[in-house]
Each structure stands twice: as structure tokens, then as C-alpha cells.
């Protein structure tokens, strides 16, 4: 590297440089570039959906029930005369807020618990991990149903379910990273210099968890979309008349012979978004070089 050149460089660009490098690698690979594009479009649609959707989610257009796709109604209309295109657009926001916020809560809670549990060790770690092991003895979907059965189906229940189901998973991943980092020379050197607890946790250790965290967050997000959609489909998640994609598939299924488009459009939306996020998370894994034992 050019000695002189790097002397001029400030420390900050070097750090943002890493992020840029990851993004660049992500966009160079066609599959993950496609995934990123899908995610960005989905995100934008979720943000501005209400302004670009031609009709309301539950607006029954008089005299236009069961119409096949046309310029007027790109995805057709359903049996009640609602514009499927508008419903899919508006549903994006639903999925993003439910899956996104749920994942976010799980990631934040999981990170903090994983950091503290892993760094602290001892009986605290033991208790938390035993508890999480027991939670994870329930397959994720089963735990979700159990909670929903107890709380009753609603948007808030779904949100809570995602957070509760994924927090232990995130925490375990973060903890195992922390256990690896904890014995590294630089962490021990900082401890020997009597560094404060918050400094150890958030400055010395937390940044090392970021690669694993990024991958895990992406993965959890795609599973969360999956979960929201499946619960909607089974009728135990978001309740009608929400434009929830899973729910729309369920409703569309009943009338599949009359309005197949009302089934295909939301199903395709789910598949495209989940595949998109998967493409990104899969590539992230190899870019960020997550060790094999954390790849699941």
C-alpha cells in the first residue's frame, strides 16, 4: 500500500470503507444484486404504498368483481370486487412492519442478552442458556402457535410472537461469537488495563459480532415474513379484512377456479420477497466469512 497516501487518510473513511466494500461485493454478484434490488423495491413500496395504490385495500369497486388482469386492474379483482394490485401493494407495508419490527425487537433483545450472557459467563449464562434451550426445544412454529393460542390471534400477538420466537435464536448466535472473541488477545489486553464494563461490552466486543449479526438479521427477517404469511394463511395470524399476503392466499384459494389471480399475485409476492432476502443473506454469509459452525 502507498505509504504516503495512507498517511493522509483519516480513520473514518477506512471504517465506512468496509461497509462500502461489502455493498460492492453484494452488488457484483448477480444473484445477490437481484436480491438487493428486490429488497429495495419492496422497502420503497412499503413506504409509499398508500400513495401509489390506485384503490383502497378494502374498497369494493362496484360492478367489477372477478375481473381478469387488465390495464385498469393489473392483477385483476377478487370475488368482492377489490383491486388485487392495490391490496398487494398495501400488504407490503403490513409485512414489513410486522416482520421487520418483530425481527428488529428480536435482534436488539437477542444481541443484548447474548452479549451480557456470553461475556459475563458463570451462573447467569448458565441460567439464560438453559432457559433458551428449553424454549428452543419447541420448534419455532409450534412456539408461535402456542403463544397465539394463549393470546388470541391479532396483529400485536403476531408481533410479540416473532420477537419471542427469534430472540433466543439471535442470542445464541451472538453469544457464541462473544465466547470466541472473549479470549482473543486484544480483549484480554483491554481487561488487563482495567477497562470499564460498558467499554468492554460495546466497544471491544460488540463490533466483532456485527458480521454474524447482519447475516442473522437478514435470515430472521426472511423467516419472519414466512411466519407472518403462514399464520395469515392458517387464519390464526392477522385477521380479515387486512390485506395480509398470507390471508389473501387463503381467501383466494377458496375461489381459485373463479379468480386464480387473486391467489397467484400475493403468493408470488411472498415468494419473491423471501427469495430476495435469502439471496442477500446467503451471499452476506460468504462475504463476511461467517465460520461454518455458525452457518445454519
Amino acid at each position: 500500500m502507498g505509504e504516503v497516501a495512507s498517511q493522509q487518510v483519516d480513520a473514518q473513511p477506512a471504517r465506512t470503507g468496509r461497509l462500502l466494500r461489502v455493498l460492492k461485493q453484494l452488488l457484483r454478484d448477480p444473484a445477490s444484486a437481484l436480491g438487493s434490488a428486490i429488497f429495495v423495491i419492496f422497502f420503497i413500496v412499503a413506504l409509499i404504498g398508500p400513495w401509489i395504490a390506485p384503490y383502497g385495500a378494502n374498497e369494493q369497486i362496484p360492478g367489477s368483481a372477478r375481473q381478469a388482469p387488465s390495464i385498469e386492474h393489473p392483477f385483476g379483482t377478487d370475488i368482492l370486487g377489490r383491486d388485487v394490485f392495490s391490496r398487494v401493494l398495501l400488504g407490503a407495508r403490513d409485512v414489513l412492519t410486522l416482520a421487520g419490527v418483530g425481527t428488529l425487537v428480536a435482534v436488539i433483545a437477542g444481541t443484548i442478552i447474548g452479549l451480557v450472557s456470553g461475556y459475563q459467563g458463570g451462573w447467569l449464562d448458565e441460567v439464560i442458556m438453559r432457559l433458551f434451550d428449553s424454549l428452543l426445544a419447541l420448534p419455532a412454529f409450534l412456539l408461535a402457535l402456542l403463544l397465539l393460542g394463549s393470546l388470541g390471534p391479532s396483529r400485536n400477538s403476531v408481533l410479540l410472537v416473532i420477537a419471542v420466537v427469534y430472540t433466543p435464536i439471535v442470542a445464541r448466535v451472538i453469544r457464541s461469537v462473544v465466547l470466541g472473541v472473549k479470549t482473543r488477545g486484544y480483549v484480554e489486553a483491554a481487561r488487563v488495563q482495567g477497562e470499564t464494563y460498558p467499554h468492554m461490552l460495546f466497544r471491544e466486543i460488540f463490533p466483532s459480532t456485527l458480521p454474524a449479526l447482519a447475516v442473522e438479521a437478514a435470515l430472521r427477517f426472511s423467516y419472519a415474513i414466512f411466519l407472518v404469511a403462514s399464520l395469515g394463511f392458517l387464519g390464526v395470524g392477522v385477521q380479515p379484512p387486512s390485506p395480509d399476503w398470507g390471508l389473501m392466499v387463503q381467501e383466494g384459494r377458496a375461489n381459485v377456479t373463479q379468480t386464480p389471480w387473486a391467489l397467484i399475485a400475493p403468493a408470488a409476492a411472498i415468494a419473491i420477497v423471501v427469495i430476495g432476502v435469502n439471496l442477500v443473506s446467503d451471499r452476506l454469509k460468504s462475504i463476511l466469512q461467517i465460520p461454518a459452525e455458525l452457518r445454519r
Binding site: L131, D133, L138, L147, G149, S150, S230, L234, G276, N278
Partner: protein, 315 residues
């Protein structure tokens, strides 16, 4: 080895105790007034009082927990409030159906997945691998209710090969039921297939990088021998534990699949129970699933330990 087994078993029992406490708390304590939840808002005071009595809801929580666990262990699973029938026979019959479906799914998925994973891993970054990788990523992205519906359209309505719904009679034998099992099993298999194949693939790739592979190759052994005797022996070992994890997936997958195909298994019963908020039925179903899941895990761990000399012969 013996010691390893006992330790595993100990952990398992501890985990089961804590899990049962979690299940109990979620179903008894979290909902607030359990009797009201079960009977709905319109139920009369008398009926509510009767349920409180039956479930012992006025006892302190620890007493309720002990009663409930004892009941579960001795087979007194109580009444389902939505069907007004005994839970135990209801669950066992559905369990039989679900296990049939699960077995067919695993028998289809595991060999195929391992084969595809090995193929992709040995050809890392070549077209075969890319094809398998993209295909499996896509399949993982498709929820079971989407793939299930597609399969129904194509094979049931399109070609008329298999029944679209799986209304098997309660006492149908395995082979009698088999045609109705194919479509749901294939649906449940797809996600599993992709998932296991990806794990096997990364296991093979990881193992190929190990120095002992170079040692084997530089002995002058033919490529086939190097792969089969050295690489696969080590790469497929972890695949045994994958089986345990995949049972977790299978549970989730089957719940959806059974509902898509109206298959009379535990999964459909579960959704029914959640829909009616039939808490005693939910409890029983969860406990049964957890038990099966936990013992499958134990079995896989033991199989892994038996096959792995480092554990088998470890002190």
C-alpha cells in the same frame, strides 16, 4: 460413551421440565382468566365456574402445575372443550396419521437431499452447484402453502394423478393411505430437501479444505476413493445431527401442509385448537410434539456419537 449418553439424557430431562413449565405458564397464566378464554365471552357464570373447578384454576399455580404434569404422565389428559371429547384418543389417532406422513417425507427427502448436497459440494462453484444452490434458495423461499397449492393445481386438477385433499379414513392402513400421502409429503419435503442439501453441501466443502484430504490425494489414491473413504466419511457425520434439526422443520412444515391438504393429522388439530383457543388441547398437542422432538434429538446425538470415534472412544 456411556457417560456421554447419561449426560445427554440428564440435559434432556432438565430441558423437558423447563419446557413443560414454559408451556404451562403460557397456557395457564398468560391468557388471564383461562376459563373465560376457553368458553368465550358469552358463556354463563355457571359454566365458567364448572371449568374453573375441573381445571383446578383456584389452586395456587405450583399445585396446578404438578397436577397437570401428573395427569399428563398417567394419561389423564382431560377433555377438549371444543369437541367435548377425551383428548388422549383424539391425539393418538391424529399422531398416527402425522407420523405416517412424516416418515414418508423423511424417506423421500433425506437420501435425495444428501445426494444433491454431496453433488453440489464436490462441484463447488461449477454450474451443477450453482443450479442446485439457486434452486434450493428459491425453494426455501416458497412457503409450503404456496408450493402445496401449485402441486394441487398441477397434479390433482391438472393431471388427476393424486387426490387434492387427503381425507383418509381413521383406520386406513399405510398402503391404503399412501396415494393421499404423496402430494403432502412432496410439499413438506421440498423445504426440507433444500435445507438439508445446503447443510450437506457446506459440510462437504468444509471437509474438502481439510489438510487430511491433501494427504489422502497425495497418497496417489483415485479421486473416487479420496472422496468416498475420506471426505464423505467425515462430511456426512454431521448430517446425522441435521436429521434431528430437520425434524423441527418437519413439525412446522407439516402443520401448514396438513391444513393445505386437509390431512387429518396433529397439525390440523393444532390449528383447530388455536382457532377455538382450546387451551387443554393445545397443551397436550404441544407436549406430545416436544417429547417426540426431544427424543429424536437424543437419538440423533447418540447416532452421531456412535459413528464418531472421537466421542465413542473419548475418555
Amino acid at each position: 460413551m456411556w457417560r456421554y449418553f447419561l449426560r445427554r439424557l440428564g440435559f434432556l430431562l432438565l430441558t423437558l421440565v423447563v419446557t413443560s413449565i414454559i408451556i404451562f405458564l403460557v397456557t395457564r397464566w398468560l391468557p388471564g382468566d383461562v376459563a373465560r378464554v376457553i368458553l368465550g365471552r358469552e358463556a354463563g357464570e355457571a359454566a365458567v365456574a364448572q371449568v374453573r373447578e375441573e381445571l383446578g384454576l383456584d389452586d395456587p399455580l405450583p399445585v396446578q402445575y404438578v397436577d397437570w404434569v401428573r395427569g399428563f404422565v398417567v394419561g389423564e389428559w382431560g377433555l377438549s372443550y371444543s369437541t367435548r371429547t377425551e383428548i388422549l384418543p383424539l391425539v393418538t389417532q391424529r399422531l398416527r396419521n402425522s407420523l405416517m406422513l412424516a416418515v414418508v417425507t423423511l424417506v423421500l427427502a433425506v437420501p435425495l437431499a444428501v445426494g444433491l448436497g454431496v453433488l453440489a459440494g464436490l462441484n463447488e462453484d461449477r454450474w451443477v452447484d450453482s443450479l442446485i444452490s439457486v434452486a434450493s434458495l428459491s425453494v426455501v423461499g416458497l412457503p409450503e402453502f404456496v408450493t402445496g397449492l401449485i402441486l394441487i393445481q398441477v397434479f390433482a386438477f391438472g393431471f388427476g394423478l393424486f387426490p387434492a385433499t387427503s381425507l383418509i379414513s381413521p383406520d386406513a392402513g399405510f398402503f391404503e393411505a399412501l396415494p393421499s400421502l404423496i402430494l403432502p409429503a412432496v410439499t413438506a419435503m421440498l423445504v426440507l430437501l433444500a435445507y438439508i442439501a445446503r447443510l450437506v453441501r457446506s459440510g462437504v466443502i468444509e471437509e474438502l479444505k481439510q489438510p487430511y484430504v491433501r494427504t489422502a490425494a497425495l497418497k496417489g489414491l483415485p479421486y473416487r476413493t479420496v472422496v468416498v473413504r475420506h471426505v464423505l466419511r467425515n462430511a456426512l457425520l454431521p448430517a446425522v445431527t441435521v436429521l434431528a434439526i430437520s425434524i423441527g422443520w418437519l413439525v412446522s412444515g407439516l402443520i401448514v401442509v396438513e391444513n393445505v391438504f386437509n390431512y387429518p393429522g396433529m397439525g390440523r388439530l393444532f390449528i383447530f385448537a388455536v382457532d377455538r383457543r382450546d387451551l387443554p388441547l393445545i397443551q397436550a398437542l404441544t407436549m406430545v410434539t416436544v417429547l417426540i422432538f426431544a427424543f429424536a434429538n437424543l437419538l440423533a446425538d447418540m447416532a452421531y456419537a456412535l459413528l464418531n470415534p472421537q466421542i465413542r472412544l473419548g475418555e
